[in-house]
């Protein structure tokens, strides 16, 4: 009995060993890929802690000889850089853009998803066709409009358009909203729910994953946007992070302050990492449910 048991156990043990070996290989591959992916980040961190002189040394040092923590302080105290102000401006614009995009786009998407009227399909295609318009095509008319409204050199031209919905987000949200069963809406109506409450109390609470996706996308787009801020903003106190960081490399007459640039880059990716880690589960769920990759 025991021999039989041993004979039976052996192949199992061998199989187990095979799995472990495969796991080790897989783990090693993953480790190599991870190191390769982390290396630029490591280089960024290392450069951010170097002095200007050490930054120019070739071959570059991996670990700085003297940790120049002052680089981070320099970003905030240097009057020529105004990094703190730019950081705050970027946060204001990104948060306001997220609020604007989520509410306006979800409202429009709700209409397209729930109501069938004559020409609604045509209107939807019309909205989608605006996706084909590159920003430079509407740049000058929009610039003229906001200048006439006296909003030039303020953050409003960067925020206001998000309150008039985004075609891409409407498409994303509509896909999700159409998947919510009609029976739920019927039940709501029977219970005396008005249309606006069907949107507010039923659709939005059921759409967490897609709302998280829209919020993250619009935050990242706004956070990284350079062209529109360059166009509208003139004064340094109104600049957002992308302009401020591009300006660090502006002068061909000086050595580019790569150490400060890397310190600024590290700080600028923080909000996106924080946002993504908070909303990660819902974000992935949203991508799976809407089929967006």
């Amino acid at each position: 009995m025991s021999e039989v048991a041993l004979a039976k156990q052996q192949p199992v043990r061998r199989k187990k060993t095979k799995i472990e070996f495969a796991s080790i290989v897989g783990f090693l591959i993953l480790l190599i890929v991870t190191i390769a992916m982390i290396m630029p980040l490591g280089f960024m961190l290392s450069t951010s802690l170097k002095t200007t002189k050490e930054m120019l040394v070739f071959p570059p040092t991996v670990i700085p000889k003297h940790f120049a923590w002052d680089n981070f302080k320099e970003l905030f105290v240097n009057e020529e850089i105004k990094f703190g102000r730019q950081y705050l401006n970027s946060i204001i614009v990104a948060i306001a853009t997220v609020i604007g995009t989520v509410f306006s786009s979800s409202f429009v998407a709700f209409g397209f998803a729930r109501y069938k009227a004559k020409g609604s399909q045509f209107l939807f295609v019309l909205v989608l066709s605006t996706l084909m318009l590159p920003y430079p095509a509407i740049m000058i008319p929009q610039f003229l409009l906001f200048t006439k409204l006296g909003l030039h050199d303020s953050l409003l031209p960067l925020i206001l358009p998000s309150f008039f919905a985004s075609a891409y987000m409407i498409f994303l949200l509509k896909q999700f909203f159409t998947s919510i069963p009609n029976e739920l809406y019927d039940a709501g109506r029977i219970d005396g729910c008005k249309e606006i409450r069907l949107y507010w109390n039923l659709t939005l609470p059921l759409s967490g994953p897609v709302i998280a996706t829209v919020a993250i996308f619009s935050f990242i787009w706004s956070w990284n946007d350079l062209l529109a801020p360059v166009l509208y903003l003139d004064s340094q106190e109104n600049f957002t992070l992308p302009i401020g960081m591009a300006a660090m490399l502006s002068s061909k007459f000086r050595i580019a302050p790569w150490n400060l640039m890397m310190a600024a880059s590290l700080l600028s990716v923080l909000p996106i990492i924080v946002l993504f880690s908070i909303a990660q589960r819902r974000f992935v769920q949203g991508i799976v449910l809407t089929g967006i990759k």
């Binding site: 200007t52 002189k53 120019l56 040394v57 070739f58 071959p59 020529e80 401006n89 204001i92 306001a96 609020i99 509410f103 740049m139 000058i140 610039f143 003229l144 200048t147 409204l149 006296g150 909003l151 030039h152 050199d153 303020s154 953050l155 409003l156 925020i159 409450r197 507010w200 109390n201 350079l226 062209l227 360059v230 166009l231 003139d234 004064s235 340094q236 109104n238 600049f239 302009i243 591009a246 300006a247 490399l249 502006s250 002068s251 061909k252 007459f253 000086r254 050595i255 580019a256 790569w258």
Partner: protein, 450 residues
């Protein structure tokens, strides 16, 4: 539920309101339509870089001396300088004063009709009053009309790594342009002695990086011209392209021969490896001599090696040994206050302000020759007399940068960069690449100079 809805509406309104009041600076241009005696605002548009934005520190003094004129400085990063300027002009929101600090040059601005003719406002104005040499003043004149007032004048210099010279036991190159023993061939000989042509990046070092002007101007050093002579008199529009002429082909062979025949200059791959995408490989300490714009001097105190400055060696062209980069200030055509804009420009070129600007900018070379003395004393570890000698020689044997003189230069320059990349990388021969560039350049000029 109604309460919640109300709260939401209130918070949205507040968010909007706060942003609107907190972020808006009022916008619009103050004083645009002001009458005589009223305060006007002049917009000075510049790249967002400390060596340009320092003018903000001069504003209180200027405004105290000119109570009727306010100065507003607007900025954009270098890469976006041109696009923002074009958009502002298209939207009738053009600044008053600026320069060609982006990719475009004077002739491009001039041919696009962006610049105001300053001649009617310059009665009684003379460059000599501001110690600006006559030939420098003439650079921005077309058909006798003045379109720009010079502000800073950079030249091409040779920087060398003293440590590498000492290690090789070589004498430092001279600063005197009249010392005719300092020739291109001698430079190549020196370069050979200091070159370590190794595949190992840590061991490799090169003798010379010959960055004389932009790629289309480089043959000028060898006495060959890519463009016909009428280019300099007809608004920067060449009637003939001479890229396939034997002397031009020979010049390019000499330039790229430094990399692949003589092997004394770094390949683009080496340069990028030691200095990143846009950096200067000379800063890595692995290049012995670098022919470069004098702006590189401004950072000399940050170099990790001892640096010296020398004359660009005598080449086959006896008249041209340096490229001049004279940065002017323009008044844009849509400016409603050219007189006041000109007052601001005049203030910036006075000896006192130019001297102050050297310090504030971190080393911008003044166009005012009275202030130049102070500039020569500005560089730690380099003898002021040597810098003075190099600058004076460069002015004497200088030719203005093509960038400032040729129309639609940003497109032309991009074509040269893209098409010559295969030659620089060693994938194509000069004689194969030049006919292709000539064809494309002719097409481009026919299109843009219609």
């Amino acid at each position: 539920m109604r309460m919640k809805k109300g709260k939401l509406a209130l918070s949205l309104t507040l968010t909007f309101g706060l942003i609107a009041t907190g972020c808006s600076s009022g916008g619009g241009k103050e004083g645009k339509e002001s009458k005589e005696g009223e305060t006007v605002t002049i917009t000075h548009y510049t790249i967002d870089s400390p060596d340009r934005t320092f003018v903000e520190k001069l504003i209180p003094d200027f405004e105290a001396k000119h109570p009727n004129i306010k100065i507003k400085v607007t900025k954009a990063p270098y890469e976006q300088f041109d696009s923002k300027l074009q958009s502002s002009i298209a939207a009738k929101n053009s600044p008053d004063v600026t320069s060609h600090w982006g990719y475009g040059g004077f002739m491009e601005y001039y041919n696009k009709g962006m610049l105001m003719d300053l001649t009617p406002y310059l009665t009684g104005f003379s460059g000599a009053d501001y110690d600006i040499p006559e030939d420098v003043m003439n650079i921005y004149k077309v058909d006798g009309k003045t379109y720009g007032i010079p502000l800073n004048s950079y030249v091409t210099v040779m920087l060398y790594n003293k440590d590498l010279f000492d290690k090789a036991g070589l004498k430092y190159p001279p600063t005197d342009y009249e010392d005719k023993s300092w020739t291109f061939d001698k430079m190549v000989d020196y370069a050979k002695k200091m070159t370590v042509d190794s595949k190992n990046l840590a061991d490799a070092q090169y003798g010379v990086d010959f960055g004389f002007g932009e790629r289309d101007q480089r043959p000028q050093y060898f006495g060959a011209n890519v463009y016909s002579d009428d280019t300099w008199t007809n608004g920067g529009k060449p009637s003939e392209i001479r890229l396939t002429k034997p002397e031009v082909v020979e010049a390019y062979k000499k330039i790229y021969g430094l990399i692949y025949d003589q092997k004394v200059s770094p390949t683009p791959a080496f340069s990028k490896s030691v200095s990143g995408q846009f950096g200067d490989p000379f800063l890595s300490g692995k290049i012995a001599m670098s022919v470069v714009g004098s702006w590189s001097l401004a950072a000399s105190s940050d170099f990790s090696f001892n640096v010296g400055v020398a004359a660009v060696p005598q080449g086959p062209n006896e008249k041209v040994r340096s490229v001049l980069y004279v940065d002017p200030l323009f008044v844009l055509k849509d400016s409603k206050h050219p007189k006041e804009a000109l007052e601001w420009i005049k203030y910036l070129i006075t000896a006192e302000v130019q001297e102050k600007s050297i310090e504030l900018s971190g080393g911008n070379p003044p166009v005012n020759q009275k202030a130049a003395e102070k500039y020569y004393n500005n560089f730690e570890g380099i003898d002021p007399e040597q810098i003075k000698q190099v600058f004076e020689g460069a002015y004497k044997y200088g030719f203005e940068s093509y960038n400032h003189l040729i129309s639609n230069y940003s497109q032309i320059n991009e074509l040269f960069i893209n098409e010559l990349a295969s030659v620089e990388n060693g994938d194509k021969k000069v004689e194969d690449a030049l006919p292709v560039i000539e064809g494309k350049l002719k097409d481009l000029l026919a299109r843009v100079n219609k």
